[in-house]
């Protein structure tokens, strides 16, 4: 594949991701600042078709494009970038070593595990405290937002284990399943 083809495909996958990012919705049992969308699917497909670097590039562009529409002072976009590449890069890298269906599944399973752990660490240590600080909210109000959705959340550790961990796990599994089905059909049509 020429470099120009790589660039145009990667860019258009980022554009698809940016469009899909606007179809986001909140989930029951999760606070409003955790939004679910399928914008990781084009990033994963870019990673599978073009290699791990394409996944990083597409993820970065998707979040830059979404930046003017941020409702979280860019912290949500930063979190989305880190969590997104921690899913797509391991999956794309393992798949690029051997392009078979079992390898794709192993790659995505690894990606989901890494993504869940990264999601908990990054959100707990950096993003949530930063979000609270930038908005001038005490951490307690972020907990209150989470408690409104899930009454079992009592402290910050609960927030990480009952909120971020299951959210990222669910998101990773769903995105992987959708990617698997879509990539199979798309690659059959296009012969990539």
């Amino acid at each position: 594949m020429t470099k120009t083809k790589w660039m145009s495909k990667c860019a258009i996958m980022a554009a698809v991701a940016a469009v899909l990012m606007f179809f986001d919705f909140s989930l029951p049992l999760f606070p409003v600042f955790l939004k679910f969308d399928l914008s990781e699917v084009p990033v994963m497909i870019a990673g599978f078709a073009l290699g791990p670097w394409a996944a990083v590039t597409a993820e970065l562009m998707k979040n830059i494009i979404h930046l003017p529409a941020t409702t979280t002072m860019a912290t949500g976009e930063a979190a989305n970038f880190i969590v997104g590449i921690s899913l797509a890069v391991p999956a794309a890298w393992l798949y690029s070593c051997r392009r078979t269906l079992p390898m794709a599944v192993i790659g995505m399973a690894t990606g989901v595990v890494i993504m869940t752990v990264t999601g908990v660490l990054v959100n707990g240590l950096i993003i949530v405290p930063l979000y609270a600080k930038l908005l001038g909210l005490p951490l307690e109000t972020v907990l209150a937002m989470a408690r409104a959705a899930n009454p079992y959340i009592a402290n910050q550790r609960d927030l990480l284990l009952l909120c971020f961990a299951p959210f990222n796990l669910l998101k990773g599994v769903l995105v992987s399943l959708v990617t698997l089905v879509v990539y199979k059909r798309v690659s059959r049509v296009l012969g990539i």
């Binding site: 120009t4 940016a18 494009i65 109000t141 959708v178 798309v186």
Partner: protein
């Protein structure tokens, strides 16, 4: 639903703000953001607000755009003010049953809300008066100041331009596919999360196939016109910093220093 997406929020024009070099506008916005975070006294807040309104007038933008920029944040603003007013301890100025509003909390909530409004209005001024293409050009130049062209900054900027150019096309495409599938009985936006994700499949597969085809055609078209990366590329519109651009940067830098000075030498601010 698809018409609400506000990516193409550029308002073409010939005003003095439109004609500034996009690099000057990006550097100026960075200085402005830093300044908003250092504001501490009411003259600073009032002056910044007046300055923003004047810039919108100078840019020839209708003032209702101010409201349009703030609207997506309205829930967050209300939440910030309410939470600070209710949660922070301090002198109670309003009390009803178990709810009490503190003076300190209300002031902090309002200043935070004003800062958020200034930030969003300031950055919207950039996106209202600068085309996405000019923005990516400027970013490319700012990211690779030493090299004239080429390097990773060029590739990234070119890809950003492609992505921004194709978003409206893809939105149109998505809309078309959704209508086509809905007429065959597809249902988007109902049911639980698994069903929702499953229902997206008849939308996603044609969308990806057409996106990849477009990417292929675009790459062929670029190669047919001898695109070979940033090396030795010339452009029709050259970015050029003029005196006015330096004045804007210098002016905002002076305002930042003044704001810092007021914060640390006068004390007692919020």
């Amino acid at each position: 639903m698809l018409n609400d997406i506000t990516i193409g929020q550029y308002f073409p024009g010939q005003s003095i703000v439109h004609r500034l070099d996009p690099r000057a506008k990006i550097i100026g916005l960075t200085l402005f953001v830093a300044m908003v975070f250092t504001l501490a006294h009411w003259p600073g807040y009032a002056g910044t607000g007046a300055g923003l309104v004047l810039s919108y007038v100078a840019a020839g933008l209708p003032l209702r755009l101010l409201a349009r920029a703030v609207r997506p944040l309205s829930f967050l603003l209300l939440f910030t003010v309410a939470m600070n007013a209710l949660m922070l301890p301090g002198e109670v100025i309003w009390h009803w049953k178990f709810v009490s509003v503190s003076r300190e909390g209300l002031i902090q909530g309002l200043t935070l809300a004003v800062r958020l409004i200034y930030l969003i209005v300031g950055s919207s001024l950039l996106t209202y008066t600068t085309s996405p293409i000019a923005l990516t050009d400027a970013l490319e130049r700012l990211l690779s100041p030493g090299r004239r062209r080429g390097g990773p900054a060029h590739g990234l900027a070119m890809m950003m331009s492609i992505a921004l150019r194709f978003i409206p096309t893809l939105i149109g495409e998505t809309d078309r596919i959704m209508k086509a599938q809905a007429s065959r009985g597809a249902d988007f936006g109902h049911g639980n999360i698994v069903r929702r994700a499953r229902n997206m499949l008849p939308l996603l597969v044609p969308l990806f196939v057409s996106a990849f085809r477009r990417a292929d055609e675009l790459a062929t078209a670029m190669e047919a016109r001898c695109y070979r990366g940033g090396e030795g590329r010339t452009r029709m519109r050259q970015l050029k910093m003029r005196a006015g651009d330096w004045v804007v940067i210098a002016g905002l830098a002076i305002l930042l220093v003044m704001s810092l000075w007021m914060r640390y030498h006068q004390g007692g601010g919020v």
